[in-house]
Symmetry: C2
Subunit: 307 residues, 2 copies
């Protein structure tokens, strides 16, 4: 599978509305499926999006406020009921482990052994994800909260014209990639001569938080930046008090971090769909890239690799 | 308020579908609001139905399988967040008290003091509900499960023609009602002479269970009988194994108990809306009253008082 997309399952902060479920985001990345912050109703939103428990390989919780985790029991129980065989890594702030245990065993069901636990602590924590790396860093919110960054390793792409010019052909190409150099045309040809850097793709998932250094660290160079923008600038003081961002701040993060596609989400119930232009305008004042105003069941592709 | 109606919030057993949320039923009865078996997503279904946390005075859980209780945290947290001031009585099987505690404190929130706990044990337990009585009896399911019955006390209605005939007038009528007898026209007039029995209205909420004596006891004379019919008769063996009823059995209960309006719900995901005629036909084979095939967000009035 080479699908790389975000499936948005819910976009409401705090309380669901008729049109917005509580949070829920499945980042599908080749064979991995990272389910971030499943709020209440995520199990049903997944059905609506045509997704199943088998699509989930990571269950990542930023913090234990209800709108970010009350969907955990439903997802866990579906993983068990639907007989998921692969490992599912549950990642969450260690400081909230008691809440995790309650949600993990919230009601009676026939349990599964596939869920492993990866509690987060410290200034930077990493969880392996195949060839990818999932990094978490603490944010600034009234309860312990971590943001996430998923990164593909940097690599190099071969330049066919240079291979041809220096006479590296057939099985010698694979050997060059493997060993770093190869003899051809009477000299040593190095990988650097016939290839160019290919930066790994990156995605960042940041909520809930005030602006802080780790917001920028997590977002750095993200191809896809999913970030809360609970409020607009007129409510900036409220955002600061409750530990949230405004759309203007989210745009500033995207711009300073050199992000590419910016997904705004986690909107306060005080706003409606009619406020979309205000959110876009605030973010666009700082950020020139693509901006998505999240809606339930929207799918956002990870943008094509940087050239 | 004199509204007496059932607001159906969810009708799916086990797993939600696109068209059916997990269980959830608000029985509105004058000033009381009894929320039965809130499954995941009940908080949002309430918003869709135009209901708020303020409408809930009882939170009744039959048993701690996820489809009957995973909506508890969302409802509890809304009761707290929305500043509900009246008492909310939480009623649940005492054997599941550990699950109750996990759901009650599932994630971080600013708690409320209005929720009181009424764990159920024994063969019959009653919880006061204003002038009403809420009775619970154990059912037959793989985990401890209780069914509920809400009953208004029997009373008497005055017969104006008889009052007139025997010469009881004005403030004497109230005195007769209060004291049971009064002097009029040179003799003692008793309440029985000038009034007729007025049976209290009753509702029963029965799930999940196999057929057992308590199913009939709870349903006895119910004006409104809400009962699970997870399966149809071809799956009767499955129903027995998993501790559920068929629509035919639900119809038999309604008929033998002398119920009036029968609400079938909690359908297995194997059935679709196209199966409605089969459910109705199975129940109607035994029961002659009104039968409702439950759908999400449907409102079912408690039938008018028996004549």
């Amino acid at each position: 599978m080479s699908i790389r997309e975000l499936v948005i399952l819910g976009t409401a902060s705090a309380v669901p509305t008729r049109h917005r479920n509580q949070n829920g985001y499945l980042l599908r990345w080749d064979g991995e499926g990272l389910l971030f912050d499943p709020g209440e109703g995520t199990q049903r939103q997944m059905a609506r999006a045509g997704l199943s428990a088998h699509d989930v390989t990571f269950l990542c919780v930023t913090h234990f406020h209800g709108d970010h985790c009350l969907g955990v029991p439903g997802v866990v129980q579906r993983i068990a009921r639907d007989g998921v065989r692969h490992e599912v890594r549950a990642v969450f702030p260690a400081a909230g482990e008691e809440y995790w245990r309650r949600l993990r065993h919230a009601s009676a069901f026939k349990d599964t052994g596939v869920i492993t636990e990866w509690p987060l602590s410290g200034e930077e924590a990493t969880v392996p994800a195949g060839e990818l790396t999932l990094t978490a860093r603490p944010l600034s919110h009234p309860v312990p909260s971590y943001g996430y960054r998923l990164a593909e390793p940097d690599s190099r792409r071969m330049i066919p014209a240079e291979l041809e010019r220096l006479g590296v052909r057939g099985p010698e190409i694979a050997r060059l990639q493997r060993e770093g150099s190869v003899r051809a045309g009477g000299r040593t040809v190095t990988l650097a001569e016939v290839s160019a850097p290919r930066p790994g793709q990156k995605a960042a998932f940041i909520m809930d938080t005030r602006l802080c250094d780790n917001v920028f660290a997590l977002a750095e160079g993200a191809d896809l930046l999913i970030i809360e923008s609970t409020f607009l600038t007129p409510e900036a003081a409220l955002a600061e008090d409750y530990g949230h961002l405004t759309a203007a701040q989210a745009g500033r993060v995207a711009a300073e971090a050199g992000a590419r596609t910016l997904v705004l989400t986690h909107f306060s119930e005080r706003y409606g769909d009619e406020d979309e232009p205000r959110f876009l305008a605030e973010a666009a004042a700082a950020f020139q890239g693509e901006i998505v105003f999240a809606r339930d069941l929207l799918r956002v592709p990870v943008p094509k690799r940087r050239p």
